[in-house]
Symmetry: C2
Subunit: 267 residues, 2 copies
């Protein structure tokens, strides 16, 4: 093992350290809901983007320096805004704020769904995935309600349930990362948790073409969401049937069945 | 199937359409090398970012409109610069330039490695992965040489070999995406192609902390690359031993073994 690799210790203190981030920015109601969900379960530290970063995927800032700004957003919770992406927030938090790995990293609660292909565009889920690369157990939470006035009651309930469970009975996995989506609606209407796989559902893009006052064309990304996956074990199915979907996700993108096929072709 | 889903036809004309993009920008030497590699194999259309987009991952532009600008970079090749990310380039190319799916999407040749965890930060590979989501076969190419004066001879040779093979004998896969890395050095020194899996190798981050002229702190991302994976079937191993590494990659991030484990825990 490279000597640098053991420098940042895994969490081990008695009070767990809970790192919270998101992609909707530190000013979003969803991050407050997540802080409330985790309150009392450990020492919470918030490090989140200073502006909306939806759709940033796993982007990192390499050509520009980053800034951190201490905030007084929560009375009793240390919090910082960061000028970079959600993934930058996780990297900076570990190296420059916590000076160690947190015991868990929570991301969200996102305003809007991150099921199916959304996982790959989502800054919320990329932050969680980044933590798991560093062997920090992580959960990304998303509520199927884009509204700034969304009701986070049910999402907060399930977030607390899952965080509590993961802290009390840690799952022995080197790179644990969960993509949790919560249906819109009242807590009583939700049927429970379903472990799922990522549906093959995507956007059929339609760029809205316009002309600026100088007659030059520009394009707005718009799209229609289409589910091609009829499986009943998918996140899209679960959410449609009012379950909280939980998809374990990984950063190893190797397509193993295709690898075997190619090995034969290139032999 | 949703009626929108069949709107954009899969490639079927006699001359294949080859879409070329990258993340180093349309002005990078690597994209010229890729155009040379594909020359004569079909109708080439280049749609690439107007500025460097390294480390942009799977980011998309959702809060701002996009611009396309017709370029005269290549005498006989239609080319456009795009104000967005590499993934935006693929989406815009299909919807607004080609008005159909290309027969293949090539991304690169990247200046610098995209093996192991780099695949997830890489704009080059995210563009290729985006194509595969749309069922467009795709290959991302990266040369292990960051220099602007890098010698692309060997990379061009292997790129042509693989593109030719994929166009002549298409592999029956709904979402084919290959991550191809080429070692630095002369063509004669390369031992051939190796089909690999993604190594677990990552960066140990060290932010370089500085103070600006006003005394305020800022941070530059730096890091040491560490390979934790001792497998001989990985891309890092293959490249170290002077093979061209080919890793088939997928956008389904579901961790299936962990899904089974969680199903038991949550039963």
């Amino acid at each position: 093992m490279h000597p640098m690799a053991v420098k940042k210790k895994q969490g081990s203190s008695k009070e767990p350290i809970i790192l919270i981030t998101n992609d909707d920015s530190i000013h979003a109601p969803g991050i407050r809901a997540l802080v409330e969900a985790a309150r009392g379960l450990g020492k919470i530290v918030v490090v989140a983007p200073d502006k909306p970063q939806s759709g940033m995927g796993h982007a990192i800032t390499i050509g520009n320096p980053l800034r951190l700004h201490k905030m007084q957003l929560f009375e009793d919770v240390e919090s910082y805004s960061c000028s970079g992406t959600p993934v930058d927030c996780v990297k900076l938090a570990v190296d420059k704020i916590l000076h160690r790995k947190p015991d868990i990293c929570l991301s969200g609660i996102n305003h809007g769904a991150n099921h199916s292909i959304n996982v790959i565009y989502s800054g919320t889920m990329s932050a969680a995935l980044e933590a798991s690369i560093e062997s920090i157990p992580s959960i990304g939470f998303s509520l199927l309600d884009l509204s700034i006035e969304a009701d986070f009651t049910a999402a907060t309930h399930y977030a607390r349930l899952l965080v509590e469970q993961m802290l009390k009975k840690p799952i022995a996995e080197p790179h644990l990362c969960l993509n949790v989506n919560i249906p819109k609606g009242e807590l009583a209407s939700i049927k429970g948790i379903k472990i799922c796989r990522q549906a093959y559902a995507k956007y059929d893009e339609e760029f809205d073409e316009r002309k600026d006052p100088n007659g030059r064309r520009y394009y707005w990304l718009t799209g229609v969401f289409v589910n091609f996956d009829k499986g009943k074990d998918t996140d899209v199915w679960a959410l449609k049937h009012n379950y909280v979907s939980v998809v374990p996700v990984q950063f190893d993108l190797t397509n193993m069945p295709l690898k075997k096929k190619l090995e034969k072709l290139f032999a």
